[in-house]
């Protein structure tokens, strides 16, 4: 069937689509780099690349978790709220020192992830509904814990946000390490493969005796923990905990990065490298438009175009 469909399509169109699915996001990144080199002053500077990388790092980290959730045919809308929660918990426990505060953040985030995973895996609530509830409740809790922005002066936190190792900011190193780790997990562990099987065909995975519930819960916990990491890093960079606005609309940025990166919303496939590239693509696009002082609405329109293009390419993939 699949081959027949492919053959009946005009060959060049099929080929272009196939190519776009696989390399479109990288081509987009490359194109933006070239264009900016030409038209944007001061683009080819170390400082600029550092800025873009530092800004995109939290998005990448959240998007990695999102990619896993989407791989199980789910979605996690609570990531932005978890970032806010991480910010307020950090501020709340920083008096004990950075490490205890991070521990507390991890506990809270794991709690949110556990709740989302349990709702999806045991109660059978649709992921979008379960995590929507957590999105509302999570931000509410963050604001109850810390009702307003609070400046933080912990030196360890500050260095986490702005320090570097051999010229590479910690944020970038952490994002890169997490991307490599998740790439390894998806490629080499039973967990990664079971996740894909569950996302592709849940009934088949169930009949094959896979620990469906355990995998689902783990996925949501991992997503929440990654969002918490991103929340802590963003807080460290700002040197202030801002639960009112931190992570606002982050769920959409993350989903965009994942989809643009070639992970289908229908589950069963997770493209880690593509997700990273997807986040970078959106970051470069935003940066280009901001640097050239185009109206903010243009940024949204440009993002929409990229998403539509990505979904169009993915539709071709879905058909096969």
């Amino acid at each position: 069937m699949a081959e027949a469909t492919l053959r009946t399509l005009p060959l060049d169109k099929a080929r272009v689509l196939h190519w776009l699915q696989r390399y479109g996001v990288y081509a987009g990144v490359a194109a933006l780099l070239v264009v900016n080199t030409v038209i944007t002053p001061y683009f080819l500077t170390v400082e600029n690349f550092r800025t873009q990388a530092v800004q995109v790092a939290p998005v990448i980290i959240v998007a990695l978790g999102m990619a896993l959730v989407i791989g199980t045919e789910g979605v996690d809308l609570s990531v932005g709220a978890v970032m806010a929660l991480a910010a307020s918990v950090t501020a709340l426990y920083l008096g004990y020192g950075l490490l205890p505060a991070l521990l507390a953040v991890a506990l809270f985030a794991a709690g949110v992830g556990l709740a989302g995973g349990a709702l999806v895996a045991f109660v059978g609530v649709q992921p979008i509904v379960a995590t929507l509830a957590l999105m509302v409740g999570g931000r509410g809790l963050a604001l109850v814990l810390l009702p307003q922005l609070k400046d933080l002066r912990n030196p360890a936190l500050a260095s986490l946000g702005s320090g570097d190792l051999l010229g590479f900011p910690y944020l970038i190193l952490i994002a890169a390490a997490l991307a490599l780790l998740l790439g390894f997990v998806m490629r080499r562990t039973t967990f990664g493969r079971q996740l894909l099987a569950i996302g592709d065909s849940r009934p088949a995975a169930q009949l094959a005796g896979l620990p469906v519930r355990r995998v689902l819960i783990t996925v949501y916990v991992v997503s929440a923990l990654l969002a918490a990491v991103a929340g802590v890093l963003a807080t460290a960079r700002l040197q202030a905990s801002d639960p009112t606005s931190l992570g606002n609309l982050m769920e959409l940025s993350a989903i965009t990065a994942v989809v643009v990166g070639g992970t289908p919303l229908t589950g069963g496939r997770v493209n880690i490298a593509g997700t990273v590239a997807g986040a970078v693509l959106i970051q470069l696009l935003t940066a280009t438009l901001i640097k050239h002082d185009l109206p903010p609405s243009w940024t949204q329109i440009a993002q929409a175009i990229v998403i539509v293009a990505a979904v169009y390419a993915a539709r071709g993939r879905g058909k096969r």
């Binding site: 562990t189 039973t190 894909l196 088949a204 009949l207």
Partner: protein, 519 residues
């Protein structure tokens, strides 16, 4: 008395889907007041025929004459307006609206200001439903009613829209016996009112209780039609399954080689009194090592449910399963797998293969934890297992990394068999292992089943292919309506006896021994 008027005449109806001739030159005639049984196994063309009559599909050839006029409905709504109503297995009404609103949906009574006349609607709804034996508060949302009552509302609605023909597609599948009686009463009343009823069901008792005429479809063709009373149950079943009585069976049509298994060995699988609401009513069976036990019965008799219940994929109300003498925690697939029970599911595409993953990942899917240490997969061990089975089962794929979804049905089935064999099971439950695969692959699968049994595996074989069931099985347990109605062993495993048992007028479990003595 003049013969009742002809309401519907279908002539030469054909419909082809890509690769399948779903309906081939089928005729059907309905008279006023006729209750017509439409029967056939899976894929025989029943639902295609219904969908052609109700405007869901358009025919490739043939004509439909309804009340003397040639018609061609574009949508089910058009068909309904013209007078052909359909009641599906699942009630397709609006659960949150009140019973009365559902009943009058689209033709609500209005007062002279054009506003809904709720009082009148509720009053009329109560009266109408009363005649169907449904006495409920019609202002309640439909979903608060039992399934049976909802079915009645759907029926009342269908009839109230001035239907001349009412098509019922397995209307009793979710009804309690008492509700079935009410339904039959309603059907008889429809009949007396001159409405033609097309009744689709697999339950023979029901057919003989309400239907006067019958059309049997097989492989998209009409293979029989006439008065139901002229056809006894055995003939009906044999017509449906396509096995002529007394047909001389050619030996060696299948690749099964015959008997195996020690009759006196301890059972490797023993299921006792498996009960699942609406589906299984105390099914018991045993499988010994090296034995192939067939599970016979018509569609909907509980074969698939039995296999799923044993494999932990269907929660039981009661009943026990023991594997090699050890009781199994029921309702858990992982527990069943650990105990050594593997199920090859009936629906290969949606419950079997994981289409987006490669052949390699599909084969290794269930056994993966055993090939891993601390959650890390040992690629070399996966490779060696995958290579072994690709070779042993002669799986044809361009490489182990090809997506399973791209393989042919037969190769997909082999991949699934490999997945289960890799688990080294004690009991293999095979639900329609050769359905929809080509002849060559079919023979290979049958041969494999034989070999596995010879190696000491216990096999439970479900097949709608009688030949396969009879030649492949050492024993056949026959199910009907979720209960065991007979068991055939040894020389009794013949098509005729099997069909008699399925039809319900042959030797039942208790009389099997007598039959043997008689023979």
């Amino acid at each position: 008395m003049a013969p009742p008027a002809e309401v519907l005449a279908v002539r030469g109806l054909s419909k082809t889907f890509p690769g399948v001739r779903a309906l081939d030159d089928v005729d059907l005639t309905l008279h006023a007041g006729e209750v017509h049984a439409l029967i056939g196994e899976n894929g025989a063309g029943k639902s295609t025929l219904i969908k052609l009559l109700t405007g869901v599909y358009r025919p490739d050839a043939g004509e439909v004459v309804f009340q003397g006029r040639t018609v061609s409905f574009g949508t089910p709504l058009e068909a309904q307006k013209a007078g052909i109503s359909t009641i599906y297995q699942e009630v397709n009404l609006i659960p949150l609206l009140s019973v009365a609103r559902n009943l009058f949906l689209g033709r609500e009574p209005r007062n002279r200001f054009g506003v809904l006349d709720m009082a009148r609607m509720n009053r009329e709804a109560e009266e109408t439903l009363g005649t169907y034996g449904v006495r409920v508060d019609v202002r309640r949302p439909l979903r608060t009613l039992g399934v049976g009552a909802q079915q009645m509302v759907a029926l009342a609605r269908a009839v109230a829209t001035d239907a001349r023909i009412v098509i019922m597609d397995e209307p009793t599948s979710s009804l309690e016996p008492r509700e079935v009686e009410t339904l039959f009463a309603v059907i008889r009343r429809l009949r007396d009112a001159g409405i033609a009823v097309v009744y689709v069901s697999h339950r023979l008792d029901e057919l003989y209780a309400v239907c006067s005429t019958v059309t049997v479809l097989r492989d998209g063709r009409r293979v029989h039609h006439g008065r139901l009373a002229d056809l006894d149950r055995l003939s009906l079943v044999s017509t449906m399954l396509g096995r002529e009585l007394g047909e001389v069976r050619a030996e060696g049509l299948t690749k099964f080689t015959g008997d195996h298994g020690a009759a006196d060995a301890e059972p490797v699988l023993a299921a006792t009194e498996l009960t699942v609401p609406h589906k299984l009513h105390g099914v018991s069976l045993t499988v010994r090592p090296g034995e192939v036990v067939g599970l016979g019965g018509l569609l909907g008799s509980g074969r698939t449910e039995t296999a799923k219940a044993v494999a932990g994929a269907l929660p039981l109300r009661s009943g026990t399963v023991t594997v090699a003498g050890v009781p199994l925690r029921t309702g858990s697939t992982p527990a069943a797998l650990r105990a050594g029970v593997s199920l090859l599911p009936e629906d290969r595409k949606s419950e079997g293969i994981v289409p987006g993953l490669s052949v390699r990942e599909n084969i290794a899917l269930a056994v993966l934890p055993r090939l891993s240490r601390f959650g890390l997969v040992s690629e070399s061990r996966v490779d060696s297992i995958v290579d072994t089975f690709i070779e042993r089962l002669r799986i044809k794929a361009s490489s182990p990394h090809q997506k399973v979804g791209e393989l042919s049905g037969g190769n997909q089935q082999k991949v699934l068999l490999a997945r289960w064999l890799a688990m080294n099971p004690k009991v293999l439950l095979l639900d329609e292992p050769t359905r929809g695969i080509d002849v060559g692959a079919k023979a290979e699968v049958q041969k494999l089943v034989d070999e596995l049994a010879a190696d000491g595996l216990g096999v439970l074989l479900i097949s709608s292919d009688l030949e396969e069931l009879i030649e492949g099985s050492d024993r056949v347990v026959v199910l009907k309506d979720g209960s065991v109605v007979g068991e055939l062993a040894g020389d009794d495993v013949t098509e005729e006896k099997l069909m008699r048992t399925i039809a319900g007028d042959g030797p039942a479990r208790d009389t099997v021994k007598e039959a043997v003595v008689d023979g």
